[in-house]
């Protein structure tokens, strides 16, 4: 479970996230939407322990990410939008490093590696140095690494960018299946069709504030629209709040 409690974070005088209160339950697939600079990336960075909340607290399965970052990280699988891999390690060596980092014993780690290599179709290139991988291959390798320790919470930032249609289907199925097995999935995306297809609940951020939180049906009710697509609903919601500010220079 993920719990944001009155979380705020500023970049100087610019408040990137304002008083965020949010609980994402186990078994739930949550999609965070918003324009560039809305505060999604800052929210995710706080969630995975890269940034500390300026105010408030974030807990993963009860572990505060600022006070007990290792315990929280142990329960998280994280797929960033721009994955980092060690150029001079093969995919297998990288996966093995991550598995060991999460404390998987030799036999368990080997089995987990084999399962994820099979699942993400890494077999044909997993023993090559990652410097030769395409973006899609890197993304699949990072997904495999994030899933090795069967995380209670999976955090994915723009999971579908740069993937081919087969990989997109694979990732969508994975996210759905992982949440159905009782894990919490937190996804940030601009791909509204994917959010519409996958998410149990949706959050819309605008200028650092969560301006909507609920299901697609609840959004339709709020906007008094019958059967509208998430794209049209999202655009009308955000446009009503005023044009988004240009993306801030924050990371």
């Amino acid at each position: 479970m993920i719990e944001f409690e009155a979380v705020s974070r500023s970049y100087g005088s610019t408040e990137a996230v304002k008083q965020l209160d949010l609980i994402v339950q186990p078994g739930e697939l949550f999609a965070l939407l918003g324009h560039n600079g809305a505060g999604k990336t800052t929210t995710i960075k706080m969630l995975v322990g890269l940034l500390r909340p300026g105010r408030g607290s974030i807990a993963i399965d009860g572990f505060d990410v600022a006070r007990t970052p290792r315990e929280a990280a142990q329960r998280v699988g994280y797929v960033p939008d721009e994955p980092h891999l060690y150029d001079k390690l093969s995919g297998r060596e990288f996966l093995s490093f991550v598995a060991n980092m999460h404390g998987l014993r030799a036999g368990t780690a080997d089995a987990a590696l084999a399962a994820q290599i099979e699942r993400f179709g890494l077999g044909s290139f997993v023993d090559q140095l990652t410097e030769s991988y395409s973006h899609g291959m890197k993304q699949r390798t990072v997904f495999a690494a994030a899933m090795l320790h069967d995380p209670r919470v999976l955090v994915v930032d723009e999971p579908l960018v740069g993937l081919d249609p087969h990989s997109i289907r694979l990732v969508k199925d994975l996210l759905k299946a992982h949440s159905q097995r009782g894990a919490t999935v937190f996804m940030s995306t601009h791909t509204l069709t994917a959010a519409e297809e996958l998410a149990d609940r949706i959050g819309v951020m605008h200028r650092g504030e969560l301006i909507f939180l609920g299901t697609l049906e609840e959004l339709r009710e709020q906007r008094h629209v019958v059967g509208g697509s998430l794209e049209s609903l999202y655009l009308s919601l955000v446009d009503e709040r005023g044009k988004p500010t240009p993306e801030s220079p924050s990371p």
Binding site: G49, L50, F97, M101, P249
Partner: protein, 590 residues
């Protein structure tokens, strides 16, 4: 979760795997480059060793034999000053390298999302910072200490102690740099640049003042007894017992001392004293490690977050006066060339990493040239003329060599880097030939100004013959044009569009080839123009009557050398550029 020992083992294995893969790759795909780098490093080491060895021999002959009071004072002075200076430099370089490793690295971002102790990440990066900041120290300290051992006929244990002493020593300034870096970012992240600039300015200012005080003595008193004593007094602070550099110097000097001829208490014997200094260095290095770990544990995650969330004002990009001046200078060229020149100029101007290195190196050279007459021999005899001319031509060679490193580092990768954004230029109605010629003009004109000015300064301060001034300006022009042609031509003939880092492109095979060819070209051009001019002036000044040095023959040598140099420069400029244009025209971009 992993225990600390398992974590350490895992990070060691990560390091081992990455280094092994890197080495394997280097040995299989870049043998020539690796061989050249090793060969040049060995040659550089041998040259340094020879310089130190003959310098120390000079001391034995002209100051006093080993054991003599003046000799001991001089050696103490050299060792303490040398290691104290490097001590300060190591603090800065380790701090700066660690800063970039911890706060601007994708690896750190990844590691911070893993269940890893923050102090382990800092230690992992500190190992890299220590290695990268101290390799230069090893390169300088090893020939000096070995040369001293040979000159002083040191016992075997001196050589055995060099390695452990240096290793223990470098960890102390690295640890201090690391602790300072972490505390600075944690508590003064918004002032980090100001604080770093202030401390660096103070250090440079203090060093500059000390050097100025040392060399400003009137010419007649320079290197005299009083000057020597004054200099010793001025730098006495480098021998403070509190400095790790003093422990290292004392340990080396003690270890090199011969065994005592009279019985002494065990702790007074030189070998035991050297071991005690080693113990002092090791224990302090361990304390530094403990301090860094403690600070890292308490501050690193928070410091990383604070730095990431610092306010960042977007840079405004307007037309400055300097842009207008550049635009005016580019006016004689056709419009497309002007546009490309202006674009390259703006990219250079807005990237301080590029021009600041240029400024530092050429600034230091300028300072050296302005003070060079202080070391010239007085009088106007044959030796003096020969000395002045030799130094002036050496200066020319040095400026050329430094320029070649810049053309390799900054000009050679320009086409490779352009490849990634080639669609911008590719969609404009500009031929690829024009693009390449624009790069060449940019490099040649950009280097001619500062290099010509530097050489003019050197010549005027040395007071060389007007003929030499003219020959030097001519030579400098040939060097700038030839080096620019080589770098642009080879860069276009051997581009690397997959690499986005200019330093990595420059370190590749093409970059190494460019550097080697540039060094060869500089040597040939300087020899072709310098040697006849040098002989001509020597013969004129001495009135020697040797057939080989007859006036008419020498003028022939002079003109022949200049014409050959001009031909060589033309070939060196045109051939690589034509090859580059041909290859560039056939390239397919993605």
């Amino acid at each position: 979760m992993l225990g600390a020992a398992d974590e350490a083992r895992l990070m060691r294995r990560l390091r081992y795997q990455t280094v092994r893969a890197q080495l394997k790759q280097v040995l299989t795909t870049a043998r020539l480059r690796t061989g050249l780098v090793i060969l040049l490093s060995v040659l550089f080491w041998i040259a340094l060793f020879a310089m130190f060895y003959f310098g120390l021999e000079f001391l034995v002959k002209h100051v006093g034999p080993v054991g003599d009071q003046y000799h001991a004072q001089t050696i103490e002075f050299i060792f303490h000053l040398f290691f104290a200076s490097l001590n300060v430099m190591l603090i800065f370089s380790a701090g700066i390298i660690l800063y970039s490793g911890l706060f601007a690295s994708e690896e750190t971002r990844f590691l911070l999302t893993q269940p890893l102790r923050p102090e382990r990440i800092v230690q992992h990066k500190l190992q890299e910072a220590t290695l990268f900041s101290s390799w230069g120290f090893f390169l300088l300290a090893s020939p000096l200490t070995i040369a001293y051992g040979l000159v002083a006929e040191a016992p075997w244990h001196y050589y055995a102690l060099i390695g452990p002493l240096i290793l223990a020593f470098v960890y102390i300034p690295s640890g201090i740099g690391a602790a300072a870096c972490l505390l600075l970012i944690r508590y003064l992240s918004h002032l980090r640049l100001t604080v770093a600039a202030l401390v660096a300015s103070l250090a440079v200012g203090a060093a500059g003042w000390a050097i100025w005080e040392t060399v400003r003595t009137p010419q007649a008193e320079l290197f005299g007894a009083e000057w020597f004593n004054d200099t010793l007094r001025r730098f006495r602070f480098t021998q403070s017992e509190m400095l790790p550099s003093s422990w290292l110097s004392n340990a080396l000097l003690d270890a090199a001392s011969p065994p005592p001829t009279i019985p002494l208490p065990l702790d007074q014997t030189p070998a035991v004293r050297a071991l005690m200094f080693l113990a002092l260095l090791v224990s302090n290095a361990l304390v530094c490690q403990l301090v860094v770990v403690t600070i890292a544990k308490r501050t690193f995650r928070r410091a990383f977050s604070e730095l990431e969330c610092r306010p960042r004002a977007p840079r405004r990009a307007g037309l400055t006066t300097i842009d207008r001046v550049a635009g005016w200078l580019f006016r004689p060229f056709p419009a497309p060339v002007q546009l490309i020149l202006m674009k390259d100029w703006r990219l250079l101007r807005r990237d301080p990493v590029q021009w600041s290195q240029f400024l530092i190196f050429f600034g230091l050279l300028g300072l050296y040239f302005l003070n060079i007459n202080r070391f010239s021999a007085p009088g106007s005899n044959l030796n003096h003329t020969a000395w002045i001319n030799t130094v002036s031509f050496l200066n020319l060679g040095v400026v050329g060599l430094i320029l070649s490193t810049f053309t390799t580092r900054f000009i050679y990768p320009m086409i490779s880097l352009e490849g990634r954004r080639f669609w911008i230029l590719g969609l404009l109605p500009v031929s690829r030939r024009t693009i390449l010629w624009s790069k060449f003009l940019f490099a040649a004109l950009g280097s001619l100004g500062p290099c010509g000015l530097l050489i003019l300064t050197s010549d005027l301060v040395l007071g060389v013959d007007p003929l030499v001034v003219g020959v030097h300006q001519f030579t400098m022009m040939l060097l700038c044009v030839g080096l620019a042609g080589l770098a642009v031509g080879l860069g276009a003939a051997m581009p690397d569009f997959r690499e986005s880092s200019p330093s990595k492109i420059a370190a590749g095979f093409g970059g190494t080839l460019n550097l080697v060819l540039s060094a060869t070209y500089i040597s040939l051009i300087v020899l072709l123009t310098a040697l006849p001019c040098h002989l001509y002036l020597v013969a004129q000044g001495s009135g020697l009557n040797v057939r080989f040095l007859e006036g008419s023959r020498l003028i022939g040598w002079l003109i022949g050398g200049a014409v050959t140099a001009l031909l060589l420069a033309t070939v060196t400029t045109i051939v690589p550029l034509r090859r580059g244009i041909r290859a560039f025209n056939q390239l397919e971009f993605y």
